[in-house]
């Protein structure tokens, strides 16, 4: 069930505590081309199935999380703090 999300800091919480902030995309380099930035800001794949989204735990710890879930079956595979991908983009 997608209605319960297990926050790594707060435990299992209802989806009402969260605000979904869209696909978790890697931020382009500041000097990246205009096309790359345009794609990052405006273009989304809207996939069916398993993908990663930013979820903001607005009613709890107020941390940005990355939720990997299936938007067809509503299975949640993992929830991690968004700080976990910081090393990848830096």
């Amino acid at each position: 069930m997608a209605s319960l999300i297990t926050c790594p800091h707060c435990g299992t919480r209802p989806k009402e505590e969260f605000s979904i902030r869209g696909t978790a995309l890697a931020r382009p380099h500041p000097a990246a081309s205009e096309e790359d930035w345009h794609a990052y800001v405006y273009l989304r794949e809207n996939p069916k199935g398993r993908y990663q989204e930013y979820w903001h735990h607005a009613g709890g710890c107020r941390r940005f999380l990355i939720v990997e879930r299936d938007n067809v079956t509503h299975d949640v595979f993992s929830v991690v703090d968004a700080v976990a991908i910081r090393g990848m983009s830096e």
């Binding site: 800091h9 707060c10 209802p14 505590e17 009613g59 107020r62 941390r63």
Partner: protein
């Protein structure tokens, strides 16, 4: 021109019509608690938590990694501010005027709170001393267990009326009463 300032609690009007006698299930509004939010600088989380735990006149509430609410009903805000200022690697902001502190207790308190929050409050999952940010009556609040049947809720001041009314509604079947904790 002389100016006289009165401290008027935001729930003053909400509590005006209540009976003075408290029932077993009772919600008490703490009039002037000192409440601070404390953030640890990156890398100082453990040291700041240890520093906060060593202060005796405060109660510590967990909000997020490296973020706490500090509540005191015995010391004033300026005393707490000085104590917090001695902790290295921490930033503290006085929130006493921005939060309202409610204390709810009684034999049916968990049945009442089950209708207010979506978190498991069984003693095995949420023991005495536990605290966390969560939605309480649709408002982002902090809930702490201070006793087997006693919980404290810290809510943003401008939402306090709404939270108070909803909690009283949820407590009606258990004859919940409310008053200031004078």
């Amino acid at each position: 021109m002389s100016l006289t300032l009165f401290h008027r609690h935001v729930l003053e009007d909400y509590l005006a019509g209540f009976e003075a006698k408290a029932n077993p299930n009772h919600l008490s509004v703490i009039r002037r608690p000192a409440i601070f939010s404390v953030l640890a600088h990156r890398g100082s989380e453990v040291l700041v938590e240890d520093g906060l735990k060593s202060i005796e006149s405060i109660q510590l509430r967990n909000c997020a990694p490296g973020e706490w609410l500090v509540v005191s009903t015995t010391s004033g805000a300026s005393t707490i501010e000085n104590l917090l200022g001695e902790i290295a690697g921490a930033s503290a902001v006085d929130q006493s005027d921005s939060r309202v502190l409610l204390q709810i207790s009684g034999p049916n308190v968990r049945k009442i709170l089950a209708k207010c929050v979506a978190v498991d409050l069984h003693a095995d999952a949420f023991a005495i001393g536990a605290s966390a940010n969560m939605l309480c009556c649709h408002v982002a609040a902090n809930l702490a267990r201070t006793g087997a049947d006693t919980f404290e809720i810290t809510v943003p001041r401008s939402f306090a009326g709404s939270v108070f009314e909803e909690m009283m509604e949820m407590g009606r079947e258990f004859a919940l009463t409310a008053a200031f904790a004078d």
